[in-house]
Subunit: 243 residues, 2 copies
C-alpha cells in the first residue's frame, strides 16, 4: 500500500479562495494534520482523521505526517495561506533531510493564496512593484538578521510584507520594527494593517508610519509597507508599475 503526502495551502480564510486542487486533495485524504485553528477549517467526515497540534510543533508534525504517509495513509498537512510562505513546506523538507528514508515518498506541495496577496487585493495594488516578504518572528532566526534585512529592504525601496508581526516571545520587537522603518523610510510612508483578511473579522487600516502603533497588529495581522511611490487613489492604495 503506498501512501502520499500533500502539503496544502488553505488560503487566507474565505472558502472561495481555496483552490479546486486543494479541495480535491482534502476530499481524498485519510488524515489531515496541522495547527489547530487550520485543522478546524476542515469539515469532519467518516474515513477522515483530523490531527490538530500546537504551532510550536512543526517539526514533530512534519515527522508524524511522513510516518503516516509511509504507512499508506493519504495525508494532507494544511497551512493557512500558501504552504511555501512561512509555513509547513519548509518544515516537511527539513524533516525529510533529517530522515532520508522518506525522500522517495509521493510528496507534493499544493499552493494557496498567501495572506499578503489577499491583503494587497483588498487594499488595491500596494505590492504593484518589486517587493519583499519578511517573517518578523525571531523564534528561528536572530533578531539582528531581521534588522539588517529591514534596513537593506528600505534602501532598495521595496514594498514590504511582514508576517507574524507580534510574536508572543518578543512583544517589543514590532515596536522596534516600526522605529527602524520610520528612520529608514520617513514618517510619511504608508503602512497598512490587514487583519483576518477575507474572513468576517476582516479589518483594514492604512496610516502613515508616524501614526503607526504596535497595537495595530495582532497575531492575525499581515502588515504591508508601501515603497517611496506608494500613494492613495480614492479608497485604494497604488504602488505604480514604474516605481
Amino acid at each position: 500500500m503506498s501512501g502520499s503526502l500533500a502539503i496544502a495551502g488553505l488560503g487566507p480564510g474565505a472558502e472561495s479562495l481555496i483552490t479546486p486542487e486543494v479541495s480535491a486533495a482534502l476530499a481524498a485524504a485519510t488524515v489531515v494534520l496541522g495547527y489547530g485553528p487550520y485543522v478546524a477549517r476542515i469539515a469532519p467526515r467518516p474515513g477522515l482523521r483530523l490531527i490538530p497540534s500546537d504551532n510550536r510543533e512543526e517539526l514533530e508534525r512534519a515527522r508524524h505526517a511522513l510516518e503516516l504517509a509511509a504507512g499508506g495513509e493519504r495525508v494532507v498537512v494544511v497551512s493557512s495561506g500558501d504552504p511555501g510562505v512561512f509555513a509547513m513546506a519548509a518544515a516537511i523538507f527539513e524533516a525529510v533531510e533529517a530522515a532520508p528514508e522518506f525522500a522517495d515518498l509521493d510528496i507534493s506541495v499544493l499552493p494557496g493564496i498567501t495572506a499578503m496577496l489577499a491583503a494587497a487585493a483588498a487594499l488595491g495594488a500596494p505590492l504593484g512593484h518589486d517587493f519583499c516578504a519578511i517573517n518578523l518572528s525571531d523564534n528561528l532566526k536572530p533578531w539582528d538578521l531581521i534588522e539588517k534585512r529591514l534596513r537593506l529592504a528600505a534602501e532598495a525601496d521595496f514594498a514590504m510584507a511582514f508576517y507574524n508581526p507580534r510574536s508572543r516571545a518578543r512583544p517589543e520587537g514590532f515596536a522596534r520594527v516600526l522605529e527602524i522603518l520610520r528612520e529608514a523610510c520617513g514618517p510619511e510612508r504608508l503602512i497598512s494593517f490587514a487583519r483576518a483578511v477575507t474572513t468576517p473579522d476582516q479589518h483594514l487600516l492604512t496610516v502613515t508610519l508616524a501614526e503607526a502603533r504596535p497595537a495595530m497588529a495582532d497575531m492575525r495581522t499581515v502588515v504591508l509597507l508601501g515603497n517611496s511611490a506608494t500613494r492613495r487613489v480614492g479608497r485604494w492604495l497604488l504602488t505604480p508599475r514604474s516605481a
Copy 2:
C-alpha cells in the same frame, strides 16, 4: 444600471488552481478583457464578450475596462497569476488616478496563485524564508534601479523570484543579471528556472549560478534564486526556516 469591474488572477495555468471566487466572477461577467493569451483561457459563451489586447497596452485596456464598467457592464480584467504582482491591478488604479470620475465604481481585486508560488511548490520549499520578488523588465523603470535592488537583495540574503527575465526590448539584460548575482552570491548558489509551471509544458531546471545561462529562461519562465542556506534535499529544494 450599475456595472462592476473585477481584476482577477487566473493563476499560473492549471484549471485546478483557479479560485472559486474567480470562476464565479467569470461566470457572471458580460465582458472579459486582457492580454490575448490570457483571454484565450476563457471559454466563450453567449452573453460574454471577449476583448483580447496586446501586452504593451495595459493602460489603454484599463481605461477601456473602466469605461465599460461605468456603462453598466460586469467587467472582468484577467491577469495570469495574481493581478497584484506585476500585472493589471496597478494599471487599473493608475487609470483611476488619471480619471477620478471612475473612483466610485464597484471595483474589486480577486487574488490568484502567482507564478513564483506555483514554481516554489513544484520545486519544494525554495522560498521557505524571507524573499523578494523583482520584475526584470525595464520597460517601466531604469535599469540602474534593477541593479541596485539585486545587489541589496543579495546583501540581505533574501531568496529571490524574478519575473520577466527575458524582455524583448533588452535581451542582454538577463545575462547582466546573472553576472551580478554570481558576483554577489558566489558560483555555488542554486538557481531554478521554472517554465510554464502547472501547464503541460512545465519544465523545471535547477543549477548553480556557475552553470546558469541566459537561454535557460524565456518569456514563460519565472526564475527563483536560493539564499545562502538553500540546498537540495533529494529531488527537492529547501530554504530552511532558520536562515
